[in-house]
Symmetry: C2
Subunit: 398 residues, 2 copies
């Protein structure tokens, strides 16, 4: 075979981690807290059957749903995003500021196409979402970690590293962060938006969990505070509508969006029209409000049970994040437990989580005693069983 491109070697390690994530998510016998899937009870199956029945007609939007669309996405769907989602988040935008993507991680891929040459630096949180690190590494970017405290990015460290490394992009998950569940306060958001303009660096704000809030007050996104046009807001319909539909979007200044459209065209032409039309109708018919209420209730219960069980079954000295929303909590174990090693035994006992180490780009064994635990896809009953099982295993190692 001809030699693989350099990027394949560069991304190899993270590709293995992410591949494991996808595989663990689909093993039906295991109580898996590893994937970031929402509850299956939170999928609007019945609503979509009804919508499909109404729109898939030759005298309706059926031809639109099946014929070629445009690389930037369906105009009506972009309008829905501008009017029903961005406005509610305090982001002023027009359709020219929006590109529809095939799921919530494609914006990272497209933005790398636009900005990243091999060797360029991307600053990421410590820890950060390993799947996006895989993307950044596919572009042979150098990922450098920003120090975080219990609220997220430490501004002084961010500013120092921007000055030191002249990054092209700063990648931030501000709300119910993946993997930690932490939320960045509004004053830090505003400061980060400002740094984008001051230092001419793209702030890539990845905010797929923000609508899944179960406690505390909603915060304005970084993009709200962006005066210079350096913030790119990425979001997803995976958690609030359906992961399998693969719908996401980016909102940015029109000049960046235009370049992302070129990259999108050269990636896969455009996002599938069927899910765009179905999702668009879902919002236009006003289903979203009640649906969001329902899915927040489902996930809030799971979070509460998860936290209760960790506190009950995990050993003394365990630290865990209480997330105000989203799908994850982050656990730091006492003693000298290596969670990567432990995962093999956990898998044998049919319970799974994601080992913490893979979320730290800086390496050096950081996060070795940590785990990301997702409470989204397991029933409260399974959470009780799985966390007790996991707690017993951990205790047996101390």
């Amino acid at each position: 075979m001809p030699k693989y491109a350099d990027r394949m070697k560069y991304m190899e390690k993270t590709a293995d981690i992410v591949s494991g994530l996808f595989n663990s998510m689909l093993d039906a016998e295991t109580i898996s807290f590893s994937g970031g899937a929402p509850a299956k009870e939170a999928l609007p199956v019945d609503e979509l059957r009804q919508i499909a029945n109404d729109v898939l007609r030759t005298d309706g939007k059926g031809v639109t749903a099946l014929q070629y669309g445009k690389p930037e996405g369906w105009h009506e769907f972009r309008e829905v995003i501008v009017q029903k989602l961005l406005a509610a988040k305090g982001i002023n935008a027009t359709v020219d500021n929006v590109i529809i993507t095939s799921g919530g991680i494609e914006p990272m891929n497209l933005l790398c196409q636009v900005f990243i040459d091999p060797g360029d630096v991307i600053l990421v949180e410590s820890p950060t979402f390993v799947h996006c690190v895989e993307i950044f590494e596919m572009f042979e970017a150098k990922c450098i970690a920003i120090e975080c405290d219990d609220k997220g990015i430490i501004l002084a460290d961010l500013e120092e590293k921007i000055k030191k490394y002249s990054p092209k992009i700063v990648y931030v998950i501000p709300t119910f962060q993946n993997p930690t569940g932490k939320t960045l306060p509004e004053d830090r958001r505003e400061a980060i938006a400002k740094m984008g303009g001051t230092y001419d660096v793209i702030i890539l704000e990845d905010d797929p969990y923000c609508d899944l809030r179960y406690s505390g007050e909603a915060l304005l996104p970084i993009k709200h505070f962006d005066k210079s046009g350096h913030t790119v807001f990425a979001n997803s319909f995976s958690k609030i509508f359906s992961p399998g539909s693969r719908l996401g979007y980016a909102c940015a200044n029109a000049q960046i969006i235009k370049k992302m459209i070129d990259a999108k065209t050269a990636t896969n032409s455009h996002t599938s029209m069927i899910p765009q039309v179905l999702c668009s109708e879902f919002f236009k018919l006003g289903y979203f409000k009640d649906h969001l209420k329902k899915i927040c209730e489902i996930h809030k219960e799971r979070r509460d049970v998860m936290i209760e069980c960790i506190d009950k079954y995990f050993p003394e000295g365990t630290k865990r994040v209480f997330p105000d929303g989203g799908l994850f909590t982050w656990v730091e174990l006492p003693g000298d437990i290596d969670t990567t090693e432990l995962l093999k035994e956990a898998s044998a006992k049919k319970v799974a989580y994601v080992a913490g180490e893979g979320f730290f780009t800086e390496g050096g064994g950081k996060g070795k005693n940590c785990m990301r635990i997702s409470f989204g896809s397991q029933s409260p009953q399974n959470i009780r069983i799985g966390i007790e099982r996991l707690g017993d295993l951990i205790k047996s190692k101390l």
Copy 2:
């Protein structure tokens, strides 16, 4: 703004051409022969409404359709492809040889991720599909044209250029080629497959039109003759099912597929599950056979009317291809007409085609007097009106 990545400059010219293609396709007032869209009458809207009604149920495949899938695609859909499509084309494969992609051009993107470093050579037909050249240029590949005769690639020139340039990939559209409508004979297919192994070069066989045959005998694909595992067969559901669904696939040796799965994961996780489930059921329920018959009849009529009208309305000395299938014919005009210039006047007269020059990577004014004319998306009546209009315009220039 931070500096764009080098690739954006490199792909700029082709990006403009392709962007024009997508825009021309959607102007409702123009009789457009530019896009590669199939007839809207050939879209299975009613069948999909019925299927959606059956599968979008919480006790059925509704949860599968809306929940996360796997980067390689839905297992059942990959089986459909192996059993109902590849086998019929003379390609022996298992699901491990198949990756589902978001439309028929994503395989080119993923294969570039796997193999192409900046400066690597890709050999392409002269002329070739400009949209894929845009992809290759996004990866900063150097595209070099292989000489073609009226049947496609000239083997001696291909072999000479493989030896001279050591390309990573040879990109071929063997059946009803885009843009010319030509079909490569079976003996050349076999020889090209063999060269893949002899010279350790990937043969990328892009065959989205092969099922749309209106005359002549079906030919075996290059992949059928591939003994060494160097041929990657790419295909699409855009022409035989629905372009807007964005479904395609690649079939290759399992080692290459595994790398493509990593690239897919770092592009957009996986292809949308809703269209995968709908399309899979469409094939499993046996709709495809009658559907293919119907769409071939629709497009055959359009081809016949198109060729009849070109012969009638275009000036003496015009050369055109009689395509045995697909969606395109290729016209070479007499005299000194620049089809890029002419397009402005044609657009003003509300008729459109694609100027030939953009399909030639070698430049130098090649194809300046040529045009790609698609007969897929216009009714026979519109074809008559549009081709007469275009013929009159051309004659006025001589």
